[in-house]
Structures are given as structure tokens and as C-alpha cells.
């Protein structure tokens, strides 16, 4: 690991000033950054430790019924906050389906949003990667790419965004609060991450020094709490990134879908909101044929970037399954295997 200067500023404005310098990076838990630094993928000259900044570790209810989640709240604390999990169950389920208990105890809300892709060629410094080294090429094209993007990719980059947490957040219109050199601003989470285009090294709209201080969910997001699920297909039962995942949140009145939110994970360089599919669901009942039509619409623009044609049909089926489970109702307790398509809704034993 390349050495670095370590700073632990006492205020947000000092942190922003320190991190705006070239070569600086913010350090929160470091569960992704330290891994990247050990591999030589990230080589910051200066780490600005934000774990002790005041006021960033709170989960605050908002007057409109929404919630403001401080950027330093740990993933496990958010998922296990009873009030939060009751109001936003798909978000809690997504959090609990990610990483391991040890990582969830450390990893932060802000860090989850800004984690880097797990593309193996990005991680391998001997491989060409336009994201890690602009202009060097992309060894994932023509390489081991069955898990790569099927939506929004470019010739320059076919990597995916690995977050589970972001998928239901984007479905529920989450907003990101950012403190920067010119003060506080807000960006919709959907607009935070960039598609690769010709500049895959630019992953977010953040500028040097910008610090995510909180994520907000609006009060309307609570209206889906009775019918909200997250499902995640993995290549092993637990502790794996998504091959494909989906969040579905429905507002159902007398058997009719009045509002629908859908998003996909593991399919693109950003968490993917499926707005056209949401429209198809309005006014329908819990009808498998309508769910399938919505899934077709969500993947209408999908195309394989390599040996991953299967992900397109897998994503459609996962969307149908997620909608089916969401329509059936949010379970009282998150299943023993959170977000697993193989878990029974009741949480009964799978491997007994």
C-alpha cells in the first residue's frame, strides 16, 4: 500500500477543504477503500477521516413522515432500526442481504453509495481498465464477463454498480445531501451516479471535496411499506454480490395498484430505475401477465455486453418474482436469508 497523510478534521468545512486538494480521498469505515488501497487500485496521497465528524450518525424522522439518514450511520444500525425497517422494509432487506455481518457493522451509508465496482479487471492492476486508467482499454470486453452490465454500458466500460442498498433507495426517490466548497446542495440519488459513456472514470457527479452528509427518503416513500420487497440472485446463498437484484414497492387499494416503484441492481453502472415498467402496473391487479409485461418494458433496451445474455431474462424473472412477493405483502419479519429468492416468506428453514 502506498503511504499517505492522515487527517482527522473536527468540522465538516475543514474536511471539505482538506479533501478538495488533488490526491485526497475521504475515509469512512474503509471497508472498500482499504481493500482498493491494498491492491494498488486506489492510491490516495491523503486520507481525510470523516468518522468523527459531528452529527452525521443520526437517523432522524422528518416532519413529512420521511427520514434523514446521516452518512456515517452504519449499515447494520440502519437495517436493525425498528422504526426504519417498518417504514422502509425493502431498504432494510437490501441492507441485510449485502456483505457480511462484520462488514455491515462497519460500512457506512455514504460509503455504500460511493463503493466501487467489483469488476475483476478493475481490481486487477495488470489488466486494461478505462475506469482505473482512462484510455487503457477494457479487458472485460472479451474476458470473463458473464456478470457484467446489460443496460447503459458503453464500449469503454461494461462494469456494474454493486450496491444493494441503492436499489430500493432509488425506487423510493431518495435524495442525497452534499456539502461542498460552495456550500450545501441536494442531488436525487438517481442522478448521483453516471453512466460510463466515453468517461467511465467519472462515476458520480461529485466534485473534489464534495462530502455526502445524509440520504433522505421522502414521506411518500412510507406509503409502500405494506408491499415492498427486495430480491437478489447470488451465486452462493449468502455473502455475495448480486448477479441481478430488484426492488418493488407497490401502493395497493382494494386490489388495484395505484402507485408502483421498480428498480434493478447488478445490471448497469448505476442502480437502475424502471419508470416505463412502473406505468404499466398502474390500475392493474396482482396479475402475472401484467407483471411480465412490466418486466419486458424494464428490459426493453437491454443488450448483452458479453457472455451475459442470460442476465436479461433473469432480470425479467426476478422482477416478476419481486412484484409477486411485494403484492402478497411485506412479511412481518425479514426472512432468515434476506432477499433470497429461495427463502420462504415465513422464514422457515431451507437447509434443515
Amino acid at each position: 500500500m502506498k503511504t499517505f497523510d492522515y487527517l482527522r478534521p473536527a468540522t465538516i468545512s475543514d474536511a471539505v477543504a482538506a479533501a478538495a486538494e488533488p490526491g485526497a480521498a475521504y475515509l469512512a469505515a474503509g471497508t472498500n477503500l482499504l481493500d482498493l488501497m491494498k491492491g494498488g487500485i486506489s492510491r490516495p496521497d491523503r486520507l481525510v477521516d470523516v468518522t468523527r465528524l459531528p452529527g452525521l450518525d443520526r437517523i432522524e424522522p422528518l416532519p413529512d413522515g420521511g427520514v434523514r439518514i446521516g452518512a456515517m450511520v452504519r449499515n447494520a444500525d440502519l437495517a436493525c432500526d425498528a422504526g426504519f425497517a417498518k417504514s422502509f422494509p425493502a431498504v432494510a432487506e437490501a441492507l441485510l442481504s449485502g456483505a457480511s455481518a462484520q462488514l455491515r457493522n462497519a460500512a457506512t451509508v455514504g460509503g455504500n453509495l460511493l463503493q466501487r465496482t467489483r469488476c475483476g479487471y478493475f481490481y486487477d492492476v495488470a489488466s486494461a481498465c478505462n475506469k482505473r486508467e482512462p484510455g487503457s482499454g477494457c479487458d472485460a470486453r472479451g474476458g470473463e464477463n458473464r456478470l457484467h452490465a446489460v443496460l447503459g454500458w458503453s464500449e469503454a466500460c461494461i462494469a456494474t454498480h454493486p450496491s444493494d442498498f441503492c436499489v430500493p433507495l432509488i425506487a423510493l426517490d431518495a435524495v442525497v445531501e452534499i456539502e461542498g466548497k460552495s456550500g450545501r446542495r441536494e442531488v436525487a440519488l438517481e442522478a448521483l451516479h453516471c453512466l460510463p459513456g466515453d468517461t467511465p472514470a467519472r462515476e458520480t457527479v461529485l466534485e473534489p471535496g464534495d462530502l455526502i452528509v445524509a440520504v433522505r427518503l421522502p414521506g411518500q416513500a412510507r406509503a409502500f411499506s405494506a408491499h415492498a420487497r427486495y430480491l437478489k440472485v447470488r451465486e452462493r446463498t449468502s455473502y455475495a454480490f448480486a448477479v441481478v437484484s430488484a426492488a418493488a414497492a407497490l401502493r395497493i387499494e382494494q386490489g388495484t395498484i395505484r402507485e408502483a416503484r421498480l428498480a434493478l441492481g447488478g445490471v448497469a453502472a448505476k442502480p437502475w430505475r424502471a419508470r416505463a415498467a412502473e406505468q404499466i402496473l398502474l390500475g392493474a391487479g396482482a396479475d402475472p401477465a401484467v407483471f411480465r409485461r412490466a418486466a419486458e418494458a424494464a428490459l426493453a433496451d437491454a443488450k448483452p455486453s458479453g457472455d451475459n445474455q442470460f442476465k436479461i431474462e433473469l432480470a425479467r424473472r426476478i422482477l416478476v418474482r419481486t412484484l409477486t412477493l411485494a403484492a402478497a405483502g411485506t412479511p412481518k419479519r425479514i426472512a432468515a436469508l434476506p432477499a433470497s429468492p429461495f427463502a420462504s416468506a415465513s422464514g422457515a428453514l431451507q437447509h434443515a
Binding site: F4, Y6, A76, L103, N105, A336
Partner: protein, 165 residues
């Protein structure tokens, strides 16, 4: 740059002068404080062998910078027994053959203690397995590990009931 940090490790205050900010909590424990019970497996947060409790919560010490944890309270495998009396989780691992080669065992035990403190798994084997999925065992002692954690959970519940009775 030099950084002085102080930690409470297994109940004892330790003041450490760090000459390098790159030192992880894992390397600090093993190389500077000679607490080699905590194991370095992958060193990348994938295997769980380095699991310790920081301020009562289990984390991967390989992915934690020591300098960022100034003031923290650390519990390692060396600190869980009371003299010759094993921690209930340690005793349960022996009783249920929750190990073969033993390399992952300190991490497994610290993770299990963390899991019991979190109180989310109860006596559901599937929740125990899911909650222990961050700890790999190359010998494949998972069946015994699950039984051991369940027994420790039950003995904690029984102890709690005796205390409150």
C-alpha cells in the same frame, strides 16, 4: 508523521505510537501488541479470520485502520475466557467439534460472540448460518459451528433465566 493512539484491549489500556498510518487494527494487534490469536487469512475482508469486537461489535480488523480507531475498546480471542474458565462459546465449539485445523476458530468465536450480542438470530439455525456467513472455514466444520452457536445461545438464555429467577 507520528500518531499516538490509545486503545483498551481486553480491558487493558494500551498506548501505541504509530510511525505509519497504514497499520491496520489487525497488524497492530498481532505485530505490535503480540496478540497473535487474531488471525490474518485473506487480509481483504473476505474470510473473517481477523474478526474482533470493536466497541462491542464484530468487525473485520484487516479492513480497519488502527489510527482511525483511537480510543476504541477492543475484545480479542485472548480476552474472552475468565482465567481457566472458557467462554460459553469456546466451550460449545469444543463440545460440538466446531473446528478441525483451528485457524479460522478465533474469528469464528469472536463472530459468534458478536452474533449473540446482536440478538437477531435467536435459536433459528438458518439465521445463525446466515449471521455466520462472513466467516469461512476451509475444513468445512460448519455443521459443528452452527450447533455450537445454537448451544451457546441456549446456555445464555438459560443463564439469563436463572439470573432473573
Amino acid at each position: 508523521m507520528n500518531f499516538s493512539i490509545s486503545l483498551t484491549v481486553n480491558g487493558v489500556r494500551r498506548d501505541v505510537a504509530l510511525d505509519d498510518p497504514r497499520v491496520t487494527l489487525l497488524d497492530l494487534l498481532r505485530e505490535r501488541l503480540d496478540l497473535t490469536g487474531t488471525k490474518k487469512g485473506c487480509d481483504r475482508g473476505q474470510c473473517g479470520a481477523c474478526t474482533v469486537l470493536v466497541d462491542g461489535r464484530r468487525i473485520n480488523s484487516c479492513l480497519a485502520l488502527a489510527v482511525s480507531h483511537d480510543g476504541a475498546e477492543i475484545l480479542t480471542i485472548e480476552g474472552v475466557a475468565r482465567g481457566d474458565q472458557l467462554h460459553p462459546v469456546q466451550a460449545a465449539f469444543i463440545a460440538h467439534d466446531g473446528l478441525q485445523c483451528g485457524f479460522c476458530t478465533p474469528g469464528q468465536i469472536m463472530s459468534a460472540i458478536g452474533l449473540l450480542r446482536e440478538g437477531q438470530a435467536g435459536d433459528d439455525p438458518e439465521r445463525v448460518r446466515e449471521g455466520m456467513s462472513g466467516n469461512l472455514c476451509r475444513c468445512g466444520a460448519y455443521a459443528g459451528i452452527t450447533e455450537a452457536v445454537l448451544e451457546a445461545q441456549n446456555s445464555l438464555v438459560a443463564t439469563g433465566q436463572r439470573r432473573s429467577a
